[in-house]
């Protein structure tokens, strides 16, 4: 082996090690600083409940088929089909062993906003922390307080059913590096408190974009396609475009949208359907002002 070849090889090895270290450092789970979750005081449970409904936790974490108050038992188990495999929502009831009752606020908050699990592992973005990342520490604290008041369940949800390579959690660091952001998705008039409130609700806790925005092959949102509609991950049909350019709801007024979220009826008195049924049940529990803010924002996003 000539000197040049040896030099080249050792150079490549060094480069590999440095590159690997850099990649590891760039993609390792990144919780927020401890201070982010300190000094928040006693949670406001009434606000926590509003955040809970805005966040739609029950849609995935209630036991499949549960009705009425049974929906507040967040035992998990519902399957969420995706092109990457089937996810099963875990038990997030306050049970200390099966659920998350033993977690601290910081652990809960880092799961919610950074996709970092209690053991420091990456969580799958099927849990929409890519949206929840925008939530304020106060809302997370209030939500955590409210969730601790819910019934406990000792049931253990089935594990995710994912083929290789999607079963490798480490790779999720790369996904986060590429796609995880707490920046606004679109620009709206920041001087209008109704619009900024709507933006917070839709882009943050409401996580509307998770279904209504198309994704690329790696599971990140397509640029400039915010809320433009997407294939239904459950199979046939489509998740509709909800921008002002939509064929179906583009013609709705803001009050039509708010009324739909409250009652489940479209202006033509067709009714809500598909996975939106669960979402609408949650939206119905928000205050009228919150629904109006969501509607105002949806009328203000770019028409696609």
């Amino acid at each position: 082996m000539g000197r040049r070849t040896r030099k080249l090889i050792s150079g490549l090895v060094v480069l590999g090690v440095v590159g690997g270290a850099a990649l590891w450092w760039l993609t390792k789970p990144a919780p927020r600083s401890a201070s982010h979750w300190e000094g928040l005081g006693e949670p406001d449970l009434a606000n926590g409940e509003q955040v809970f409904w805005a966040g739609g936790c029950v849609s995935c974490h209630a036991k499949p088929g549960a009705e009425g108050d049974a929906r507040l038992v967040l035992s998990g188990g519902a399957p969420l089909k995706s092109p990457f495999g089937t996810f099963h929502a875990p038990n997030i009831s306050p049970d200390e062993t099966a659920g998350i009752g033993g977690w601290t606020l910081a652990e809960f908050g880092n799961a919610m906003t950074r996709g970092v699990g209690r053991n420091g592992e990456h969580l799958y973005p099927s849990f929409p922390y890519g949206s929840y990342a925008r939530m304020t520490a106060k809302d997370v604290n209030d939500l955590w307080g409210f969730m601790k008041t819910l019934p406990k369940s000792a049931e253990v949800a089935p594990p995710h059913d994912l083929p290789f390579p999607y079963n490798m959690r480490m790779a999720l660091g790369g996904w986060k590096l590429l796609f995880l952001t707490d920046k606004p998705r679109v620009r709206v008039d920041g001087s209008d408190p109704k619009l900024t409130r709507g933006q917070y609700l839709v882009e943050g806790p409401g996580h509307c974009g998770e279904c209504h925005t198309p994704r690329n092959a790696l599971g990140g949102f397509e640029p400039d396609q915010w809320l433009a509609g997407a294939p239904n991950p459950e199979g046939k049909g489509r998740i509709p475009n909800i921008t002002p350019g939509s064929k179906s709801i583009g013609s709705w007024s803001a009050s039509d949208i708010a009324s739909y979220l409250e009652t489940g009826f479209t202006p033509e008195f067709d009714s809500v359907g598909g996975s939106m049924v669960e979402v609408q049940k949650n939206m119905a529990k928000l205050t009228p002002a919150e629904r109006e803010a969501i509607a105002a924002y949806l009328k203000a996003v770019p028409a696609l």
Binding site: K236, G237, G264, F265, E268, S271, G273, G274
Partner: protein, 148 residues
């Protein structure tokens, strides 16, 4: 020239034939049925919201329409009508026909029950509409697919 005219005539005749038969296709019949239920629901909602004055006759007619339409609704889903005419029917209907029929029957019964004790004012219509709306949603949740 002559051939073109002939083709045009044939195409127009074809269109005419489609237009005549389309109305009898089960996909179209059930879409019309849903529109009827939607219109009846809209009439109830107008009263519930206070946009229209309370009118016992309108309430009675609307509830009757919903109940009656539901009695025959599931019969408009014969084998072979799974696709076409921009149907939004989910394939799950044919996989779970019994459950689908049960859901239609529930709306029929619920509307008939309300009809038997006719809601006497705006607030009562609102309450009744809440129950009916749930029936709509619970069926559309599983059995309707939106195209866009």
């Amino acid at each position: 020239m002559k051939i073109r005219a002939l083709m045009l005539a044939a195409a127009l005749a074809g269109l005419g034939v489609t237009a005549v038969t389309a109305a009898d296709e089960p996909q179209v019949v059930r879409q019309q049925a849903m529109k009827k239920v939607g219109a009846a629901t809209g009439a109830l909602a107008g009263i519930a919201k206070g946009e229209k004055p309370y009118d016992a006759e309108v309430v009675k007619a609307s509830l009757t329409t919903i109940s009656e339409t539901m009695k025959t609704f599931p019969s408009h889903f014969p084998a072979g009508s799974e696709t076409g005419h921009e149907t939004e029917a989910s394939p799950k209907i044919w996989e779970n026909m019994d459950d689908f029929k049960a859901k239609a029957a529930k709306l029929d019964t619920d509307a008939a029950t309300v009809l038997a004790q006719l809601p006497a004012d705006q607030a009562a219509v609102g309450t009744a509409l809440g129950g009916i709306g749930k029936d709509c949603g619970s069926c559309h949740e599983s059995y309707r697919l939106k195209k866009d």
